[in-house]
Subunit: 270 residues, 2 copies
């Protein structure tokens, strides 16, 4: 039997009762404090995917990082608060030692074909092989799970440190070792961008996501077509002020198709 | 005593127990089916604002429209799932006759001064008085509560019907009668834009928001400075496909300062 991919091990859940799952933090995905937010968000998507009551596929999820998650076991509670004919609304929480560390809501849906169009286009970029490979730092540890080739905005963890006129990051990215893309992995990729305040200032500043939203646009066929190829991620802040900034991000297939759009609100200090 | 503004009447809640509020739908804010989503979202913000356990001010809210709300009374449940030193995480739901119609999460925070900057700029537009006033249709009824002067993208409810190359809407908007802006009203304004699929196709098509997120950037001082002047709203879709599209929106002060950024995922049919 082939060993599990570290991503699958980190997001694995045991269903112990209806709507109750047990998981365990993975040292490979640890951040400065607790796990990488993207792996927590992916774990919550996994809970919905693993729940036999699920109708359709995830179309939207919002994850709120309420408190730190300690190394060790945790419980995920998933409640399908409302099931309609073609949509279902989930309320989720991650609990550890009786304390809520993470709240979330998700929407799943049976999707049907309609006309398709994007009003946004991917930036013109050099191909993955021609963009500069990023050597991940030792800390935070989770970054070693991603192979990143930056086009711009690598931030202070890269050699290019220094303030920038904007917070834009454009990066080719995939799991390492490579792993076929699915909705859980796509969720984590939406949070792969380091805090925009760091990219903008060129300095490591205290920052942490408080709320992350992912809208899934890719269907199963498109995800299968991407397979384990690198995807293109773009992220930028819209507004910084009074201790918070927002980030808007898009993950594009290597062929320039929108896979997911994502937004987050991030706490930061000067 | 002056009569209450219709917005305040529509979002009024009676606190009947800790974390439990009673409200009532307002016919003035009815949509095609049930109330205007913006008034529902504003009512949930109101619940957080009215809860004596609240820490700080709303910085983010996500509202999921799970099922139709019938005309009549409803209950809002608000649970501060986690309270930290300077942030608090809320889980909310709106319940009617034992069924969950709406799920939500919110984050409140004690905000502190930091550097401030926007990486987005408002479009160059004619002033409110020079943009064409929109005569609201009889249905949906809620539109009569907003005074809208469209710069572009009024959609099929205006005279300009017909397909457009993009789904961009730019509009000066305020409550009518005018009402000083606050976070509840700002929340509703983030949902004032008609579905992008209609603006794009120029046709009335079945569509409904499934998930709405608002990030609040304005502080109390800025809101007070806006007072009851019109604000500028901009909205566009990023991607349409397989029955859903996303919308990203910004509400700007009349002086061009970001008040809120907002995102939603919307169900639509051809």
């Amino acid at each position: 039997m082939e060993p599990r991919h570290p991503f699958d091990a980190a997001t694995a859940l045991d269903r112990v009762a209806e709507g109750e799952f047990r998981g365990h933090t993975a040292p490979e995905y640890s951040n400065m404090v607790g796990p990488f937010g993207g792996i927590t968000a992916a774990t919550l998507v996994r809970a919905v995917l693993d729940d036999p009551r699920r109708l359709g596929e995830p179309v939207a999820i919002t994850v709120n990082f309420a408190g730190p998650i300690a190394d060790g076991p945790f419980t995920v509670r998933a409640d399908p608060a409302r099931t309609n004919r073609s949509t279902q609304h989930w309320t989720l929480e991650l609990v550890q030692d009786g304390a809520v560390t993470t709240t979330a809501t998700a929407v799943t849906a049976v999707r049907r074909p309609t006309w398709t169009d994007s009003e946004i286009a991917p930036p013109r970029v050099p191909p993955f092989a021609e963009a500069a490979p990023f050597v991940p730092p030792e800390f935070p540890v989770w970054m070693s799970n991603y192979e990143q080739h930056f086009v711009e905005g690598a931030g202070p963890l890269a050699a290019e440190a220094g303030p920038r006129p904007d917070s834009v990051t454009t990066v080719w990215v995939r799991d390492t070792p490579p792993r076929p893309l699915d909705r859980a992995a796509l969720t984590a990729l939406c949070d792969v961008f380091i805090p925009r305040a760091m990219v903008r200032t060129g300095r490591l500043v205290p920052a942490g996501t408080v709320s992350l939203t992912v809208y899934f646009h890719a269907d199963a066929e498109l995800l299968a077509a991407v397979a384990d190829r690198p995807v293109l991620g773009t992220a930028r802040a819209q507004h910084f002020g009074a201790g918070f900034f927002d980030q808007t991000a898009t993950v594009w297939s290597p062929d320039g198709v929108v896979l997911a759009t994502s937004h987050q609100l991030v706490y930061f200090k000067d």
